[in-house]
């Protein structure tokens, strides 16, 4: 940083001002360019609806429909109108006819959607999209309350990109550590305290219900599921054929279920592997849309993708092995905190870690994990910590939203009630 000699009588302050002005000018131009790009990509000021919508759910991607669906269903059951705005043209919600009180609309993709949201008139907006008021999505001055809900069980706040949560008014929580982290960030950034509500995880409740309703899995030989993600740090890229060979050497039944993206981004690599290790009685390459049957009949999962590990551990209560690569925290809120990144801290407690050293002897690794009591106990405890109020998520969210709505619209209370209060 520069410090200037600003003595007035000598005129040097003129230079201080010129330098200051140049800096401001550059910053201004940059801001203008960002704004311009926003405008060009459809971010024009959208017309404002005349009426205030009681509750808007905004989803920036179709994949979050399962996150919101249980909540919508609960609200629908209680007769509360929900306007669902999606930025995905092919969002399943658009064709959903199950709920009388749901009205879904596609509001355009990307900036087009944000432009609309920036001038939205609503009492409450519920969303799972991080970065409100940081990126192009700004808080609308016609919205009274922004509520955030998580879209992954482990999605503790510090694992969002920096400032992801900061400008929501309320956060719906499922894990004991989330509150500590949020409060720590608020303190660090001098932000007003957010309303934190423990609600559980509605979509996990949904999944749990599904798991519980599944037909019992028939007796089967010991089955190991390899569910790698994609990218340079994924198991297939890191260990390649060595991992598969080592797995086959265990003699157990092996299911490999690569991330769908692998077939697009890493077609050559996966093609080679599938050629090298063709399907056999011992080896399955699985690409089913519904992964539950596969999960159900697997006894252990090996993955480098935290989301599926948590789901597998929590829903099926089965052991896991994780290939944790060095995690770069730079982009995330957790970088700014002294507290540990819980979702990473928990994983070694739930199962072993696959490394370059032990990859050649998968058998010993799997055997050491699969019946380990400590791991099983840890798994249960962690599930308790992370997944509060299981099977109550949707109810609690709906309770909260309705209560909040009443709070925010006191004048609209029926007269009788108001009289009672007097």
């Amino acid at each position: 940083m520069m410090r200037l000699y600003i003595d007035p009588g000598t005129g040097s302050m003129l230079f201080a001002i010129v330098i200051g002005l140049v800096g401001v000018f550059i910053y201004f131009i940059k801001g203008l360019l960002v704004k311009l790009r926003f405008l060009i990509s459809g971010g024009k000021k959208a017309s404002i609806d005349a009426n205030t919508i009681p509750l808007v759910i905004f989803s920036d991607d179709k994949r979050y429909w399962p996150v919101f669906m249980p909540i919508v269903r609960e609200l629908d059951a209680r007769g509360f109108d929900v306007v669902y705005m999606t930025a995905s043209k092919d969002d399943p919600v658009l064709s959903c006819t199950d709920f009388a009180h749901l009205s879904a609309q596609f509001i355009g993709e990307g900036n087009r959607a944000f432009a609309k949201l920036n001038f939205l008139k609503a009492t409450i907006v519920l969303s799972t999209t991080p970065g409100l008021d940081v990126y192009q999505w700004k808080r609308s001055k016609y919205v009274k309350y922004y509520v955030h809900t998580m879209h992954a069980p482990e999605a503790g706040l510090p694992m969002y990109e920096v400032f992801g949560m900061d400008y929501y008014d309320a956060i719906l929580l499922n894990c004991v550590h989330q509150e500590e982290d949020i409060r720590a960030l608020e303190k660090l950034r001098d932000l007003p305290a957010k309303e934190l509500v423990y609600v559980g995880i509605p979509f996990m409740d949904e999944k749990l219900k599904k798991v519980k309703n599944m037909d019992p899995v028939p007796e089967h030989e010991r089955t190991i599921l390899l569910a790698p993600s994609w990218g340079s740090n994924s198991i297939l890229n890191r260990f390649g054929s060595a991992a598969i060979k080592s797995l086959l050497d265990t003699g157990y039944h092996i299911i490999i279920r690569p991330h769908p993206q692998t077939f697009q981004s890493e077609a050559e690599m996966i093609g080679k592997l599938m050629e090298e290790f063709p399907e056999s009685d011992q080896l399955e390459w699985n690409r089913d849309t519904d992964n539950y049957p596969v999960l159900a009949r697997s006894d252990l999962m090996i993955s480098d993708f935290s989301g599926v590990i948590y789901e597998f551990a929590f829903l099926f209560d089965k052991p896991v092995i994780c290939a944790l690569s060095d995690f770069d925290k730079s982009k995330y809120d957790v970088w700014w905190l002294d507290t540990p990144a819980w979702k990473l801290e928990y994983i070694p407690q739930m199962g072993a870690i696959l490394t370059e050293e032990n990859v050649s002897d998968m058998k010993s690794l799997i055997d050491s994990v699969i019946d380990d009591k400590q791991y099983a106990e840890n798994r249960k405890q962690i599930c308790k910590d992370v997944w509060l109020h299981p099977e109550e998520g949707a109810t609690r969210v709906a309770d909260y939203l309705l209560k909040k709505y009443d709070e925010l619209t006191p004048s609209e209370k029926p007269e009788k009630e108001a009289e009672k209060e007097v």
Binding site: P8, T10, F28, Y135
Partner: protein
Amino acid sequence: MYFLQLLYQLLIAPLELIFEFTFGFFYEILGDIGMSIIPLSLIVNFLLLPFYRRADQIQKEQHALEEKLAPGIDHLKKTFTGDKRFMILQTYYRQNHYSPLSALRSSYALLLEVPFFIAAYRFLSHFEPMKGTSFGILSDLGSPDGLIVIGGLTLNALPIFMTLVNIVSSKLYAKDLSKKDEIRMYAMSLIFLILLYRSPSGLVFYWTLNNIFSLFKNLIAASSDKKTVTNLVFLVMSMLTLMYAAAFYRGPQNKRLYILAAAVLLLLPVIYSILFANKKKDKNKERKSKEEKQRPYGKIFIFSSLFLSVLTGILIPSAVVRSSPVEFVLFSDCHSPVRYLILTFALALGLFFVWLGMFFYLSTEKVRKYFSLIMCEFAVCGVFNYLFFGKGLPFLDKSLSFTRLFTYSSSERTRNVIILPILVILVFIVWKFKAKILPLFMMALALGTAGLGIRNIITISQAMPGIKEMVKRDTGEKPSFKLSKEGNNVVVIMVDRAISCYVPYLFAEDPALKTQFDGFTWYPNTLSFGGTTNVGTPALFGGYEYQPVNVNARTDLSLAEKQNEALRVMPVLFDEAGYEVTVCDPPYAGYTTPPDLSIYDDHPDIDAYMTQYGLFWDDSDVIGYQKDIWIRNFFCYAFTRIQPLAFQSYFYDSGRYHDPNWDTSSIYQTQYLFDRSTAVGTDVDFMYAYTFLEALPETTEISSGNENTFMMMDNATAHNVALLQEPEYVPAMNVDNTEYDAAHEDRFTVDGKTIAMDSFEQMAHYHSNMAALRQLGKWFDYLREQGVYDNTRIILVSDHGYFLEHMEEYVLGHKYTELLGQNCEDILAYNAFLMVKDFGSTGFTVDNTFMTNADTPLLAFSDLISDPVNPATGNPITDEEKYAEKLEIFYTTEWNPQGTHGNTFDLGLWFSLKGQNIFDPENWENEGVKE
């Protein structure tokens, strides 16, 4: 453009004024331009200290914040790219209350310094008097010093010295800074070296002083014992001042005292810090200050400064313009004077509200408290000074300088000195015990003043259509006076305010006049019925029917209508008698200035001209100069008028208001009078009138035919008086008659009779009368050359004399001086100038027959038009009334016809004269004031 000008008036012009008045103040004491730059620099730097401190403080805060944020910013910059990076950084800045935009916030205190910088630069880089002035080793403050000469190479030493000081100063300031910042500072010093290297050494000197000031400031800041060092600095300054006063000062003794006083003043901070060094703060006091905090000091300040802005920016200037709007309209650049009033208001607002407000804002709580008191005192005393004093001030001309020396009577001064302290104490008591009512009181004053000002502005605006009409009518056509060689030519020239009693002295000093005025008869014993133009002219042009008692008797007509009637008598009768008639500047025609020539519209053969504003109106110099004066000096005049009377002449500064750059290159300006023998510049109004007389030969058109002609004109050379260069009595840029006056004091005694010639005013009248007669004499020479002198009857007549008290024996008393603001009991004020040359007459004779200027029409008609009858009233024009036992003479304070709509002359003093000799005081009876 106008908007920019407005902004300039608001932000920069107030500071320039401060510079100019500060400099003017010191220059008056020290009498040395170079020396005066030193206190100027000191004071400007002290004024800037609060700004500097605030800027430095903000910069430090900003710097600390930036240092705190640096790791975060670096991290985010490394982690993110593109628009995302920008938006994330934006959020980070927002969360930390930081914005690169706040670089601007941090520089707001700096930005406030820019106007100071511009004002100082403008002041010193355009400062004319600096040119050719030496100071110490600097031979010319107006050009680079060129002190070092090596071989054929000339180097400027002062900028190099300045840079050295700057580098040392930067070094001290930057002692805890990075190498990079330090280098940047040196680079800046070098840039200034380049920028100022070729500047006038006076400017560089000022800049060097600023740098030395900074050096000491930084020295104090860097020292461990700030107090001792500060005391030491003040001590040294005091010693230096003392040394200068004792050993180097060469000016007058009384001013040496001022410098000694300054040396003592500089010791005050030292004494204060020693005496009150270890006093701990009294807890009670602190508690008290909490109570005081609830007092509305901020509001008192705001409304006081608003009130002062309205008073000096609107009310006082608009009252000046209102008295005669047309004088403040430039004919070739015709705009409503309201535009100058708006600029004046901007200047006043800029000074009182913006800049003083800025200082108020930057002050500590304690200083604010007293600041509010001072503003309040200033406002109350100011309005008091303006409203209750200055009734007897001389006329203010359109250049905003007084037509006579600007002084108050001693009784007014005494009253002012007694009343002001009482007022100050009263305001203090209210401020101390009833502070809450002050904001309301000030607001009420501001609103009331604004109301009055707006009323003035409305009146001015209402006058504008008429003025515009007049401007349209003024084609700029130069007059042409027709005289014929064979016919009869009659010329009536009213020489406004020509002083009859000068004639023997003028003719004695310049014997050539006697030859030039061959054929003239001078009538010393001539009466005027009024002491002012509006009362004197009706009878002069219309005869006895229009002496003031008769004017007042005809209550059915307005004064304007009667004035017009009188002005038409001679031109119409001559026109109807077949004369070729030319009229020039009929005074107060239509009761406006300049005159409304449409009063002759029903006689299309009468050629009427308006030359009152000279023949030079397209001179862009005049326009620019006049505008500049209005833009700057309306405020200065107003500011002068709100001062205690004792200080007013300092601010007035002989009409210059400390404008350092009054234009010495143009002759069309105001004359600045120092005493009865010295002055600088020439008066624009005098020049218009004088050059008109000078140009008479060129504007006279002589035909060889036998047609009869009549010419009637008014000239103000003897009215718009100026000091001229003797012995030629011509206008000059620098008038210095000291030697000539000393050597020729005896010229004011003729035949044992002496006229007093002590004041500048008496002298300027004498000069201007001489100039008028000389120019007329030259014209007569021309007429003689052309062979039209003998067949031309010439009447030179004045509408009144003037209150100059040249001869004590003619002063009837001073009973009414205070009330009417004029020493109107001087007989010579009613002594009209009258000289008549008839066809073919020769020699110069003096005739003591009793005459009045109402004889003019009959003198003109004599033998040419028999039994003349006033075309308006049908009454015969006679001089019967001249022989009445008693004649009634009237002096009025309401001399300005502008906006006068009455039918009679009202407020004033009446005299009666019997015995047909005006020079016998026994013949005069003071009839007192009649309403």
